[in-house]
């Protein structure tokens, strides 16, 4: 994945360039208002930048100099937003298969994301007949992720996918997202939380005030070390005033634990 974008929005100037691995999660990390979501909208083709190049694999999706601008509906880019945006008039099953039914027919030898595998990985099999309005926030987000995956995207964009959830649901959905790596597709993940970068990131792009200030592996760019905290729920540790997700941690609630950070 290759992204270069220059765009003016009122007083705000976005000028970013980065690359991401074709397999794994690229974290677009920075404070709110840094231009992360604007970058994502340009990648998705929902915003037309003044100057941009967006390429996924061998496909050039945007190249303003060459007048290339593939419309959003033909980009094969899945998006998961903070709010799930499920279609309220369709069942969970119809939501899941909305993009699946519209995806191009499978080419022999092409990687295909299977419906049953997605339902299993996201543990949403028991929800298929339900209506989106009857689901909890975490369930909705899992269905939204499944719906995007099943549209057979070449790239999956996740725009703060867990920031609207409470702490317990957040940890749960984060471990589901970590499990998506087995589908072997590139993901671009926008967040302002450092623990999500440590947990999920294979590649880190740090953005501040519309510019890329650092790019590399999370381990190299984030200061590390062991810290002491208190287990507050399975997979969650409170350190000072922050709660971070530590998937797989199974210490009793209230126990003092040391985690690498």
């Amino acid at each position: 994945m290759r992204v270069r974008a220059r765009h003016r929005l009122g007083d705000f100037r976005l000028d970013v360039a980065f690359t991401g691995p074709e397999d794994g999660i690229t974290m677009l990390f920075g404070p709110s208002g840094a231009g992360k979501s604007a970058t994502l909208a340009i990648v998705a083709g929902l915003v037309r930048a003044d100057e941009a190049v967006v390429a996924v694999g061998n496909h050039v999706l945007t190249d303003t100099a060459a007048r290339i601008a593939v419309p959003a509906e033909r980009r094969r880019i899945g998006i998961v937003h903070q709010d799930a945006r499920l279609f309220p008039h369709l069942s969970v099953e119809r939501n899941l298969t909305y993009g699946w039914r519209r995806a191009p027919k499978a080419v022999p030898g092409e990687r295909r994301i299977e419906r049953d595998a997605v339902i299993e990985v996201l543990a949403i099999g028991h929800l298929l007949d339900r209506r989106p309005l009857d689901l909890s926030g975490g369930e909705r987000q899992r269905v939204a992720i499944g719906r995007a995956l099943l549209s057979q995207p070449d790239l999956l964009l996740l725009d703060e996918p867990v920031s609207a959830l409470d702490e317990a649901r957040r940890g749960e959905v984060l471990s589901f997202i970590a499990a998506l790596k087995r589908f072997g597709l590139p993901m671009l993940y926008v967040t302002h939380r450092e623990d999500e970068v440590r947990l999920l990131g294979d590649h880190l792009v740090r953005i501040e005030a519309g510019r890329v200030v650092a790019e590399g592996t999370p381990a190299a760019l984030l200061p590390g070390g062991l810290v002491t905290g208190e287990a507050v729920a399975p997979g969650l540790v409170r350190i000072g005033s922050e709660t971070i997700a530590v998937p797989g941690l199974d210490a009793p609630v209230g126990a003092v634990v040391r985690v690498s950070w």
């Binding site: 929902l46 509906e73 880019i77 937003h81 709010d83 945006r85 279609f87 008039h89 909305y98 309005l133």
Partner: protein, 228 residues
């Protein structure tokens, strides 16, 4: 209970109002879409023009239709010569007059319901590979369905009751353009016609009530389907 002529007036009224609602709703949906979703120069002017039938005296609507769609009018002559369709003084013309009068009411209801659909849902459908028509028919119109039903009912009721525009453009021809209100008017012109007028008024009332009940039923089905 009813004379054959009165039955004919009822049957004709339902047919004319039905056609007016059907075509009016399609036109209202297209224009509502244009006004709600597309930014173009002259949008405000078009909006005002489309709402004109609401504030014009019905007789003026009928007169304007005569000028445009009469056999000597620019559109009317073209329709007659190319397609062999005559609108002035025919049942189809009565539908046109009733539909044009009811159009602003339908437009308003449809537009509000289209504007009520969250554009982020459409954006989501877009990223899932749905093109503009696909999104319209699978996301926006199903979610706007209660509004479309409401528009159809309001439009049908207005078309059923339209008097001025219909009598001006299509005249008062029994069996061809004489709808219930026109038949009531005609009955009142004859000495001793009050009995017939009362019966026809009763039918009008019953038809309006049946329409309202039907719309309520459709609305409930629509709401359940929309998960609300």
């Amino acid at each position: 209970m009813l004379t054959p002529e009165e039955w004919e007036a009822l049957r004709l009224s339902l047919r004319i109002a039905g056609a007016a609602t059907f075509w009016g709703l399609i036109a209202a949906t297209a224009f509502a879409w244009l006004l709600a979703r597309v930014r173009f120069p002259g949008r405000f002017l078009l909006d005002a023009l489309l709402h004109a039938p609401l504030i014009l005296p019905p007789v003026v609507i009928g007169f304007v239709l005569l000028i445009l769609f009469g056999t000597q009018g620019p559109i009317g002559r073209w329709l007659d010569e190319v397609w062999g369709i005559r609108l002035a003084f025919t049942a189809a013309g009565a539908s046109l007059a009733a539909g044009v009068s009811a159009f602003p009411l339908m437009l308003r209801a449809v537009r509000l319901s289209i504007e009520g659909v969250d554009p982020r849902l459409e954006e989501a459908a877009r990223s899932l590979g749905a093109g503009p028509w696909d999104r319209a028919f699978t996301i926006v119109l199903p979610l706007a369905l209660p509004g479309l039903v409401a528009a159809a009912v309001v439009g049908f009721a207005a078309a059923l009751g339209e008097f001025g525009a219909v009598i001006t453009f299509a005249a008062n021809i029994p069996g061809e353009t004489q709808t219930l209100p026109l038949a009531i008017y005609a009955a009142l012109q004859v000495p001793g016609g009050e009995g017939a007028a009362a019966r026809l008024s009763g039918i009008s009332f019953a038809a309006a009530l049946a329409g309202l009940l039907l719309s309520e039923l459709l609305l409930r089905i629509g709401r359940r389907r929309a998960g609300r």
